[in-house]
């Protein structure tokens, strides 16, 4: 029975995640169009709502072209690594408290492991392999340069990302994500207690997901398409999907760690309880994630790209010291205030 519940949870969450990712692509295109005073895709279905479906059909029908001297196996493996790591990261994120169905309490989180935060950091650090290997196996200079840039960038920002979370862990006293969310009840969200941690983590998340203004690995004017220059058809589609799932997962992470996760402030005072509250909490979690995704998109279309040396010096000379100072300050505050 437990296994069955787990399977149902996995299938549901994966399905919803994939659907959301498909529509985030549409959202991005519509928002971009609005910012640039264009109309954007609005032909397929009402207001372009069936556009993701058309895109998928197009990608599946396309021919899969592999460069002649490419390393065939790794060329196939790289997009699979990218998408599976992007998806598995979501496994530990609690998207709600617990729900009671047919007299059985079900926790709204796929895997409740007691090293949740470390699991996420490990998964994000593995994500770089997809990009690096695609760059190397394509046997093309643009791909290789894109892969190299991305490895350097992800290595640099992983450190400040990991250090930014330590403040949150110190406050919660646990690596469990559900415990971290529980600690943020009411308005005691970690964004209030850890403003510097929030800012460093968010900036690092932008760099980790290769999103603008840190999308140097795929800077179009310089490197054509970056690491996925030599990809086409469904394999390109997988990279595309991975990029957007990374964005959704990063938003979910920021929500969980800093914006109170599924917490609704003053829910108990409003007299809500039971399954209704749980459903509302899941709704609150989704709303927070969606707002952050919108923030990611708006940033992409408003801020110019960094130069490569600026990116590196920002990572090592600003973000890293800030994150370390944040740990020191948090430690002092915990020692003095308790």
């Amino acid at each position: 029975m437990e296994t069955l519940i787990d399977i149902v949870k996995i299938v549901t969450v994966m399905g919803i995640l994939l659907g959301v990712v498909a529509y985030v692509v549409l959202l991005e295109r519509r928002v971009a169009a609005a910012i640039q005073n264009r109309i954007g895709p609005n032909r397929v279905g009402w207001q372009g709502l069936l556009q993701p479906l058309a895109d998928v059909v197009k990608l599946v029908m396309k021919e899969d072209i592999v460069p002649r001297n490419a390393h065939r196996f790794l060329h196939d493996l790289a997009p699979i690594i990218s998408i599976s790591i992007a998806m598995t990261t979501f496994a530990v994120i609690p998207f709600g408290d617990s729900i009671t169905l047919f007299g059985r309490t079900i926790k709204l989180q796929i895997a409740d492991i007691n090293i949740g935060v470390l699991y996420i950091l490990a998964m994000t650090s593995l994500g770089v392999y997809g990009v690096t290997l695609s760059g190397w196996s394509s046997n093309s200079k643009y791909s290789l340069l894109g892969g190299l840039r991305s490895s350097a960038q992800m290595l640099s920002y992983e450190i400040s990302m990991g250090l930014a979370v330590i403040g949150v862990i110190m406050i919660a006293g646990s690596l469990r994500l559900d415990r971290i969310v529980e600690m943020q009840s009411g308005w005691m969200w970690n964004i209030v207690l850890q403003p510097i941690g929030f800012i460093t983590f968010t900036v690092a998340a932008f760099a980790e997901t290769n999103r603008h203004p840190f999308d140097l690995p795929e800077a179009e004017p310089e490197l054509v398409g970056g690491y996925h220059t030599e990809y086409s058809g469904l394999k390109f589609g997988l990279f595309f999907l991975a990029e957007y799932s990374n964005m959704v997962v990063a938003s979910a992470l920021i929500t969980t760690l800093f914006l109170g996760g599924w917490q609704i402030p003053y829910a108990a005072e409003m007299g809500l309880s039971g399954n209704l509250l749980s459903v509302l909490q899941v709704g609150a979690f989704c709303a927070k994630v969606l707002l952050l995704v919108l923030f990611f998109i708006i940033v992409r279309w408003t801020i110019p790209r960094f130069r490569y040396d600026q990116l590196m010096s920002l990572g090592w000379k600003v973000m890293l010291p800030l994150a370390i100072l944040n740990i020191l300050a948090t430690g002092l505050a915990i020692l003095l205030i308790g």
């Binding site: 090293i115 593995l126 190397w136 490895s151 350097a152 290595l155």
Partner: protein, 167 residues
């Protein structure tokens, strides 16, 4: 055979095979990839011993950070023809063979003597972050700090050597 035994032998088998492939592949990128597979197997073995923290750190530090750095350097050098990388000095090879033989003899004598680790059920909370933290920061605090200082000194040394002009 119970599940634990099958799990152990499957993982250990893959670990050994990938370890051998790491040192026999001519292409350095393939070597690195097999080493990553090896690290994953070791992480799985830790997980089998209920050492969750150690397992995740194995992936986070070795597979996620150090091997990415290795791959990065190999790609940056972009070693085209692997066959030109033949060993130039001969005497090193002989010293290496002798040293490897010594280590092999040591391992064989220990294994032949019969290894008996501590047996029985582990204490509650064994291998968790809390237990590890208590041990590191209470029992072995001095050793832990000494190692940290050593690592810091190594880092500073690397920067001094890499920089032409130290400010």
């Amino acid at each position: 055979m119970d599940f634990e035994r099958i799990f152990f032998f499957a993982t250990a088998g893959v670990a050994v095979v990938s370890g051998i492939l790491t040192i026999t592949r001519r292409n350095p990128v393939q070597s690195v990839l097999f080493l990553i597979v090896n690290f994953f197997c070791i992480a799985l073995l830790y997980l089998g011993l209920h050492a969750q923290f150690l397992a995740i750190i194995q992936i986070l530090v070795y597979a996620g950070a150090i091997m990415v750095l290795f791959l990065f350097v190999i790609m940056l050098l972009n070693l085209g023809d692997e066959n030109t990388l033949e060993e130039k000095s001969g005497y090193r090879k002989y010293i290496a063979v002798v040293l490897a033989a010594v280590v092999l003899v040591q391992i064989l004598t220990v294994v032949a003597g019969g290894v008996t680790g501590p047996t029985g059920t582990a204490a509650a909370g064994f291998g968790t972050v809390e237990a590890l933290g208590e041990t590191l920061f209470r029992e072995y605090l001095l050793q832990f700090e000494a190692t940290s200082v050593l690592l810091l000194a190594a880092l500073v040394g690397v920067i001094v050597i890499a920089k032409k002009k130290v400010i």
